[in-house]
Symmetry: C2
């Protein structure tokens, strides 16, 4: 362990500066105007892998943004760790809410503020620096492969194609991903489950043009009101989703699992205070952790219709739209839930309007077994690095490709992330604590060490 | 009558060209970036009044946009007609839906397409040309005063102040306004009532920042969903508004009034076809005309929250907003209804969120008595000009200042408009039929003639 700390101490400024350089690329995959920046980011990542000693580094083209591959095979007989991450980031808007520019990493109170600081650049780059550390101290115990893609934020549409076409190259014993969070640095934790995702856009169209709300108001159905009614009907008074069949495949937790889940530290007062709310909300009969980790949800991610500019305009809008997504839990499947939603939404649409439903990317829910070698290796690494056993948690977010890896490569994933819930992923002023960055670089080599030992 | 037709024939091209010049000014009062254009429009109107022979023409400054005044007093003993109109226009967006530029008047199939073609430039300018006609043919039978303001589309906030400060100057026997529509040129009609208006913006705030919908979804109330539920609750299954006390002051029509109202030509098939809808909608137990003319309404004019750009973003929004307006009928008052809405909306807001309600401009409903001299003069003018008695109708739109004129100047208003419902007011591709423009110029001098005769 000491050689790890020594190496980090001797190289910490450069390790941070390289991350800042990575963060300066506005690699926003959702917006085509950033295309060149996304491509340059891929090149930067490839170069850094080469600099750290990786072999066969390649910026692999896809129908979309490239996937950066690199490896170091020290002995085919040794276990192989496949590291996944993504170099693309969420859009930064609303820009006016950032205290410093989203693509100019700024340090305040020991935190790096930038879009992508945590999700996912700060987190995946720890693995690149841990790799450099292991190579330069000659302590690399496993083979290692890197697969860093550029489309996670827009659905990883081309990753599946790449994985299926490169099964030989990607053969490994475990996938290691840092794209999740811990409870805190005092209470380290390991994500044992992720929710799935179904994402759709809906459009409700009434009259064939915007109308004068005086001339026509009262005689023509208002699509914004109709959409509101349809959305309102999605949750009953217990905040239970009303789509028929929605909960059919959901597996309830056992009492033991619930006890374990709810044993993690949680202060409802702090939760409310952090978010500035007076009351939490959710499905009757479930705790906060159960609601975010083990229950499916339906959220309006965006809604718009009519006149939304400055001042007043008395228009009866022609149409109204919404972006709606659902988080899924085992054993729901994205395809089935998407179909259930689509059928139901069209069915409840009154005849005054025409409704279209357009699905976006989805992803399957996953659970990582705590009795696997990979989980135990992570557990030991964290116990040594933090001086405390990690608490097993169930994550609310989705990393759709985890199910893909299991299906196509036959390997499980360990979700060993070093983020914090306060990192404001997908929000303005996203950040990553410098302490967490170095802690990850310190812990990752220990995972490799224990994974090799436990695999013997 | 013949001298009227002769004069129009001899001057019709110039009369149209002057209107095109007026339409070219993008006098959008709601958007400060058009400030200079609005001011230039006022100057143009003033110059045209002078050119036509008006005296004491003045561009009267206000705290906002100026009011253009002009008059011709031929004999204080004669009745005085006060013509009201507005030279400002609605915003043109969404621009991409216009077939030709909104501020470049274009003629297609005998219709002038431009923002303001009907509302209100085409309509008020008929009075300027009718005035020119009467002066130049020496047939002006009444005194005439013009009051053309520049803030009608944003609530006429400074008009009341001007009217109160100029009661002597504005003394008259009737206010004449062309800002409404007829059923058709084959079925001329006169508006006998206008609905009032209450306009508000609401904001529903949940968490103090946008959240990751995976990390927090299910445990935190989504303001977009809450807003949808609140809006959805505003109409019951009979599309009756649920705000307590809302209908208390509403006067129901007598059976005779309903019969008269519903006797106007109406084809539901054509109505639906024109709007591209499969079914009309509205309060159970009322016909289309009753719904738009005699019943109050509540409309969502705009709604927005969360991520509304391209692609997918899995955000649980911090807040959601809507612009909501209500049309009022006698004897509802704007102030009371605004208060009822505000109290109710705040009351139904659950404790998960904080709600603010911000009122905009309002206006009172009005009914013009059909047994007045002014109404009869309009009736005779139309009967002569169209060869058919006008049908009395109840309009759905609001012209808030009509109630103001009655309260401050003690005079009734005649709403003699020559627009058509197909003119697409407040929508893209607004138009005004050239036939209607000239028909108005032809009819208006007849109003003056009969108003003078009936006043003896």
């Amino acid at each position: 362990m000491q050689h790890i700390k020594n190496y980090i101490q001797a190289n910490k400024d450069r390790m941070l500066e390289e991350l800042f350089d990575l963060l300066r690329f506005p690699s926003v995959s959702a917006d085509p105007k950033y295309k060149d920046d996304v491509l340059k980011t891929a090149d930067y990542v490839a170069q850094k892998l080469r600099d750290c000693g990786a072999d066969n580094v390649e910026v692999c083209p896809t129908a979309g943004y490239p996937i950066v591959y690199g490896e170091k095979i020290i002995d085919p007989a040794l276990p192989t760790v496949l590291v996944y991450g993504h170099y693309d980031v969420q859009p930064a808007d609303p820009l006016e809410l950032w205290h410093t520019p989203p693509f100019e990493p700024t340090v305040r109170d020991g935190k790096i503020y930038a879009r992508g600081a945590c999700d996912d650049k700060g987190q995946f780059y720890m693995h690149v620096k841990a790799f450099e550390l292991m190579v330069n101290t000659n302590t690399l115990p496993c083979n290692i492969k890197f697969m860093i893609e550029g489309e996670e934020e827009v659905g990883s549409n081309n990753l599946g194609i790449y994985v299926k076409a490169n099964k030989e190259r990607l053969k490994a014993d475990v996938v290691l991903i840092s794209d999740t969070s811990m409870i805190s640095m005092e209470n380290p934790s390991l994500e044992t489950g992720l929710r799935g995702l179904s994402y759709l856009e809906v459009e409700v169209v009434g009259p064939n043009r915007d109308l004068h709300s005086g001339v026509y108001g009262g005689a023509v159905a208002n699509p914004a009101t109709i959409l509101a009614k349809m959305i309102a009907s999605m949750h009953d008074d217990n905040n239970h989703i009303t789509i028929p069949g929605f909960y059919d495949d959901v597996i309830e937790l056992t009492d033991a699992e619930k006890t374990s889940l709810n044993s993690a530290p949680y202060s409802e007062d702090e939760f409310k205070k952090d978010l500035g709310i007076d009351e939490v909300w959710g499905e009757t009969g479930y705790s906060t952790f159960e609601r975010t980790g083990t229950r499916p949800t339906l959220e309006v991610n965006g809604i718009w219709g009519g006149y939304i500019g400055e001042g007043a305009k008395t228009v009866l809008p022609s149409k109204a739209n919404a972006k709606i997504s659902m988080r899924l839990v085992p054993n729901q499947t994205s395809e089935k839930v998407t179909q259930l939603f689509t059928d139901h939404f069209k069915k409840i649409a009154p005849s005054y309007v025409k409704v279209t439903v357009t699905p976006h990317h989805g992803g399957e829910p996953v659970v990582t077994p705590t009795d696997s070698i990979a989980y135990k290796a992570a557990q030991k690494a964290i116990a040594e690095s933090f001086g405390k056993e990690p608490i097993p948690t169930r994550g609310g977010g989705s990393i759709p490709i985890v199910a893909l890896f299991e299906a196509e490569l036959g390997i499980k994933t360990v979700l060993m992330g070093f983020g914090l819930d306060s990192d404001a992923l997908h929000s303005p002023n996203e950040k990553y604590d410098i302490y967490n960055y170095y802690k990850g670089i310190e812990t990752i080599p220990l995972f490799h060490k224990y994974f090799a030992e436990l695999s013997k």
